[in-house]
């Protein structure tokens, strides 16, 4: 069963780029990704660029409305994701807990819809 692990981050809570803590966090991400690959559960995963790069789109009466910024202005926002294929929620929790951002913010687990 596939689960998406949505990584919600708040830059104020996470280590700053260039600090040793930041290096440790990135090493943690590499370790998590390679554990998922080694265990054969990794399907995809990426980090997303910052909120200042976000563009939101809506279709109003057939007309494309483009706006600067994210869907909702919140302190924590979607910063990246993994998609993993594991037998059950307990296994998904185990991998979610490997993601360093779980130590600073929140990782949300959502089962992927099966059609």
């Amino acid at each position: 069963m596939q689960y998406m692990l949505l990584i919600y981050t708040d830059p104020a809570q996470e280590p700053k780029y260039g600090t040793p803590e930041f290096g440790a966090m990135m090493a943690g991400y590499n370790a998590a990704t390679s554990a998922m690959r080694t265990d054969g559960v990794f399907r995809s995963g990426d980090g997303l660029q910052g909120l200042h790069t976000a563009t939101s789109v809506r279709l109003k009466a057939g007309k494309v409305e483009t706006m600067d910024g994210p869907f909702a202005e919140t302190k924590e926002y979607l910063g990246g994701y993994y998609v993993i294929d594991v037998p059950d929620l307990d296994a998904a929790v185990k991998y979610a807990a490997m993601i360093p951002s779980a130590g600073y913010c929140t990782v949300e687990i959502r089962p992927v819809m099966v059609y």
Binding site: M1, P87, D88, D90, I109
Partner: protein, 410 residues
């Protein structure tokens, strides 16, 4: 002869279901991986029991009969469902065990079901509700009454929880060793919440006994576990004093002033023996500490408050909550450290502003320290916040005694 009359059969079935519904449901759910479908299969098996038992007489072993037929009903439902890897796997399991010589000999799956019902991915209220419904076998109406909810509201809550178990695939398994301690604590916390719900207000179902039933069941399903034994010991040591908790005038009676003749001596002794067995395993945990505190409260020679204070300090290590600190402050005061206790109480002022027992404790110890004005206003807050009449009655009496005291003593 008379046992074949429809009324007798229905009564017999009801008795079997009351006793073994959890066992049957767990067997089906563990194979099916879906609690709602499992409940439906068990329901259908019970319905067909009435028909078949009336025709050919009740079976020698009704539980085995019901498990086998519930497996068949589950197979029928899966055959009609959409094919997937999961349904194929479930079908294989069910078909194998349906053909087993004696379905009652398959291992008891209730432990797996309990861990699922108490999974931390479900919200705490749903964990309690689901455990009462599936393991303790209460009806939805009875579970609703526990929470003072309307039956349809509770029905929706239970459905949502079962739907999440199925959709997010919360497994029906006993957790792995690295998760065991936390997950077991989640289960025992649910059992304890059920117990305290029965303790704090009268509900139509005797929740204290349901909780003790669950704790006993767990000691059988997960034997040699110190914390499981600690939980059962805690419930027994607390419940043994239940009859003495409310005085003849309807007010709460603190343990130290309870009429010991009303204590259930056999239950106390059983609780103490189970606690000693747990402690001998040298695998400490919060439930054993709470049980040890309950045992000290019930000690023949009166409570050893110094030791109780030390145990609350240890409990705070597992449960760093202001309520544990409050209990520690009370023990410190009772052990003679009034000033230290008042200092701890002051540090909790913000966190426990809305917690009635906090103000009741402050009132008591401010009164003892001679600060009558502050004590009376603390009593007034505590009386306003009291949820039960018995608690309010005790507080009003204490406040009035304090006011009636001659000035020279204060």
């Amino acid at each position: 002869m008379t046992t074949d009359a429809p009324d007798d059969l229905a009564r017999m079935l009801a008795a079997v279901m009351r006793q073994d519904r959890g066992r049957i449901l767990a067997a089906v759910a563990a194979r099916l991986g879906d609690l709602q479908r499992a409940e439906d299969a068990v329901q259908e098996a019970a319905a067909s029991a009435l028909v078949h038992w009336a025709r050919s007489g009740p079976p020698d072993r009704p539980t085995a009969w019901l498990i086998r037929v519930a497996f068949r009903k589950a197979i029928d439902r899966l055959r009609g469902a959409k094919r997937s890897d999961a349904t194929t796997a479930a079908l294989t399991l069910l078909a194998r065990d349906e053909a087993a010589e004696d379905p009652e000999m398959i291992p008891d799956d209730r432990l797996r079901l309990i861990f699922t019902c108490c999974h931390p991915a479900l919200d705490p209220k749903s964990r309690v509700a689901l455990t009462l419904r599936t393991i303790a076998g209460l009806t939805t109406a009875e579970v609703a009454a526990v929470f003072l909810d309307a039956e349809p509201t509770m029905g929706q809550r239970l459905s949502r929880a079962k739907a999440k178990i199925a959709a997010a695939r919360i497994p029906f398994v006993v957790p792995e060793p690295e998760a065991w301690t936390d997950r077991l604590n989640s289960v025992l916390t649910v059992v304890y919440l059920i117990f305290t719900a029965g303790y704090s207000r009268g509900t139509p179902t005797d929740l204290c006994n349901e909780a003790i039933f669950l704790a006993r069941l767990l000691t059988g399903l997960a034997p040699d576990q110190a914390e499981v034994e600690g939980c059962l010991a805690l419930l027994l040591l607390t419940h043994a004093r239940a009859a003495a908790r409310i005085g003849s005038d309807g007010s709460s009676v603190p343990p130290a002033r309870q009429d010991r003749r009303l204590w259930d001596v056999a239950m106390l002794a059983e609780g103490q023996a189970i606690l000693e067995r747990a402690l001998a395993r040298r695998d400490p945990g919060p439930f054993q500490i709470k049980a040890a505190i309950a045992a000290l409260h019930a000690a023949q020679e009166g409570p050893d408050w110094r030791q109780i204070a030390a145990l609350y300090a240890r409990l705070h290590h597992y449960e760093p909550t202001p309520v544990v600190q409050l209990n520690r402050a009370v023990a410190i005061a009772e052990a003679g450290g009034l000033d230290d206790a008042l200092a701890v109480l002051r540090s909790l002022e913000d966190e426990l502003a809305d917690y009635q027992p906090y103000h009741a404790a402050r009132a008591e110890y401010l009164g003892r320290s001679g600060d009558i004005g502050a004590a009376v206003s603390a009593y007034d807050i505590a009386i306003r916040q009291a949820v039960s009449h018995s608690d309010a009655a005790l507080l009003i009496r204490n406040r009035d005694n304090l006011l009636a005291r001659p000035k020279s003593q204060s």
